[in-house]
Symmetry: C2
Subunit: 113 residues, 2 copies
């Protein structure tokens, strides 16, 4: 079981702001998961992987794939109170779900450094 | 209602690694909260603030204060598979809880940039 959070790298968000958005996506996708998925993931150590996405469009395309695969997912659009404009797509959480199911969608993306 | 995540800034973690640790602390502290606190925070937009802490010792001291105040809290110690040594204290989540209760503990810390 794992959860992946894909970040819209094109925004170049500062590290603290980015971390808050990633946490938002992580919790949002977690809350979309079924109880069995939540429990299994929590028991196995809540593996989270943060990946780099190229753009808002790239994140939206990944979201469509996650929806089609019936995986829990959560897209974060910033409220725009601080760094970016309201409605800006900052990141996408997918999972917790089986490793293979998540990797089938995000397997070609690189780790965010 | 808000949740604060205090990062051990002395580690100088790369942004992606840091974001995963912050998400871990956020979810961990959320799961420690009572249902009423969880619900109220979710309904009010899941406000999260990421702050800079000076060291592992600083985070442990904040954790003691949070425990004494009976706030939900979760300390993240990295499993050590990637960037840092196993057991390294990377961040601390406090809340969701009332703004004032959290600020009484973390009010002097600066935003992580």
């Amino acid at each position: 079981m794992k959860q992946v959070i894909v970040v819209n790298e094109s925004l170049g968000l500062p590290c603290g702001k980015l971390a808050a958005q990633v946490a938002h996506a992580s919790l949002g996708a977690f809350l979309q998961a079924r109880y069995a998925e939540q429990s299994e993931w929590l028991a196995s150590g809540m593996t989270k992987v943060v990946l780099a996405g190229a753009s808002a469009e790239a994140l939206l395309a990944l979201q469509e794939l996650a929806v089609a695969a019936e995986l829990p997912e959560f897209l974060v659009q910033d409220a725009g109170r601080t760094v970016v404009a309201a409605g800006t797509v900052t990141c996408l959480g997918i999972g917790p779900a089986a490793d293979q199911a998540v990797s089938a969608i995000t397997g070609t993306l690189k780790l965010l450094t």
